[in-house]
Symmetry: C2
Subunit: 347 residues, 2 copies
């Protein structure tokens, strides 16, 4: 149910004020969309208004009662009913089209993560968001996202130094998919694992130059078809260019039951470390480290997105327009707390 | 040597443009002031214009040749010659007076770190900075500063969770001073040390409730006068209220030579950790950790301040006024790199 409310500034302290929640729409309902739905429930200043799907809305059951499930085709009807539309599609084909399209109508946030194409995506979304007169945020999550912010802070603070990013231990969807495409493979899960000794070398401040192989290993759990040539599958995995050839890779063949029982989670995480020198003769070493250990990659990504959705809404409300990234957002805008409370409790 | 330059916006791409460095002044020349001086040399878009001292300027030798050393009394003469004045005095008596005073004339940055008095300091500096028509930044460094920013980000991303801050291993100046005031003590150095098992418990996601004693230990290296009653000194240290009584404290008596040889550095660091839950049934744990390992506390603090001085200068140039903290600064403003370059290389 929607009510039309005329907003105006309070003329005196005795005048009545209403508190309006930030009205969120979710565009696309996979793992990330479900994560957004759960995250909204943890933020009392937000409410989920509608979930948009390209499937038949009647067939989609979502986790929140009494929330509209609508067809993606009808999204324009919600122009005045949603404050921030969160896009939960993929970076390969969905977001390059959807984000500019929806940015003309809504304040939007996406998690576009094809690093090499960010400048192009930024330009497209910026033009659309300016046309729409709203703010659009792209590439929000943890990498790109929180890892990027930490690379920026650390680099600004220690201009003479080295950056390192390690990922894992965690499930790489892309690498798991690559294994599944091999003939004779029924299912597979791939873990990216940072090499502990490489992490230690970085933390020592010795600024090591590390090859791809020295930074991460890859561990694969594979369910093969009955009678499949496991030696051939293992060889195909280990020699796959780009995905595995440059890494030390371990392959375990397990049963479907074992895969479901022990490898159904989507954990991830990683480390952003910068080491740098200060002093009259650069005689002092410093190590800045940010690390994440996540039980659920999509739910954590969703939690980051929801915080930045709050910031995007506030910027649009202030009259700003155009594309923004995590680099452009004053941290205070992410929090539901007032600036006074933040200074008093967190500074 | 100063040149008067009339600035105006370029009318076409063929018009000449000049690059102007950010002109920095240092107000107070102790460990932090020297750190600022060194940090400026690591940032090619900045230059040190003058150091201000309450001592006789003729007696102060600074590390950078050809830079003016001026009396603190003459600071008003530099109103148009300095873009950002960095205040390097103490939080107890210097900054509460100096920051509001100088904020009327300059864009300023300080490292005010008396947590309980931040709201009062903010209000005083805000009024002064608005009167001066410039931006003033307070409480910049690592705690308050980078630690605060990380507490804010982590709390916004994981609203249901617990915050933990650990300090060390590092030298606490206040605790070292407290030992030096004991009768029979010639000199002393105190290290604050986080308890490894407490860190591990926090990282496990078990959200432990930790007492003061469980989080940190204190280790003291003391040079006693010849013939002093060491047992009495050790007892006085260990029973000192607020400083040591609530901690497991170790006291080592060493010689002045050993103190100078092994304990002349000012290392510090610490950990900001937030653990929180997500999911439909809060079934997933997440750990966000930020940690610092610093060879020189004042030099790292100075490096943070210099990055935020760049941001303060940019905000004043944009016409903003009033008091800001690290919470109010979009990260991109800290970097000498352009927004395009940041998106391309760090996002």
């Amino acid at each position: 149910m929607f009510y039309k409310v005329k907003l105006y500034k309070a003329k005196s302290k005795t005048e009545g004020l209403i508190f309006m929640k930030i009205r969120i729409g979710i565009f696309g309902y996979g793992n990330l969309g479900r994560g957004i739905e759960n995250a909204i429930r943890q933020n009392p200043d937000m409410e989920l208004v509608a979930v948009f799907t390209r499937r038949d809305p009647a067939t989609l059951k979502i986790g929140t009662p009494d929330v509209t499930v609508a067809s993606a085709n009808d999204v324009a009807d919600y122009k005045d009913k949603i404050d921030v539309m969160i896009l939960c599609g993929g970076s390969a084909t969905d977001l390059p089209v959807q984000t500019p399209e929806l940015a003309k109508m809504f304040t939007v946030v996406d998690s576009f993560d094809t690093h090499a194409k960010i400048p192009e995506h930024f330009a497209n979304v910026d033009a659309a968001a300016k046309e729409g007169g709203k703010v659009a945020m792209i590439s929000v999550g943890w990498d790109p996202g929180m890892f990027s912010v930490n690379r920026l802070y650390a680099g600004a603070v220690l201009p003479e130094g080295e950056d390192y990013t390690f990922w894992g231990k965690g499930v790489s969807q892309g690498h798991s998919d690559a294994i599944r495409r091999i003939d004779g493979v029924l299912d597979a899960k791939q873990y990216t694992i940072p090499v502990e000794s490489a992490l230690d070398a970085v933390r020592s401040g010795s600024a090591p130059v590390l090859s791809t192989r020295e930074k991460h290993t890859r561990e694969c759990f594979v369910v093969a078809e009955e009678g499949a040539d496991k030696a051939r599958i293992e060889k195909e995995i280990k020699e796959m260019p780009n995905y595995f050839a440059d890494y030390d890779t371990t392959v375990h063949f397990i049963t479907m039951e074992e895969l479901k029982r022990d490898h159904s989670g989507i954990p991830h995480g990683g480390f952003v470390i910068r080491t740098g020198k200060t002093g009259a003769n650069r005689e002092h070493n410093h190590v800045i480290e940010y690390n994440l250990k996540l039980d659920s990659n999509p739910e954590f990504t969703a939690s980051v997105i929801v915080a930045f959705a709050r910031a995007a809404h506030r910027l649009t409300a202030k009259g700003e327009t155009g594309c923004k990234t995590v680099f452009d957002i004053p941290p205070a805008l992410l929090s539901a707390k007032s600036p006074e409370e933040l200074r008093k409790t967190l500074l």
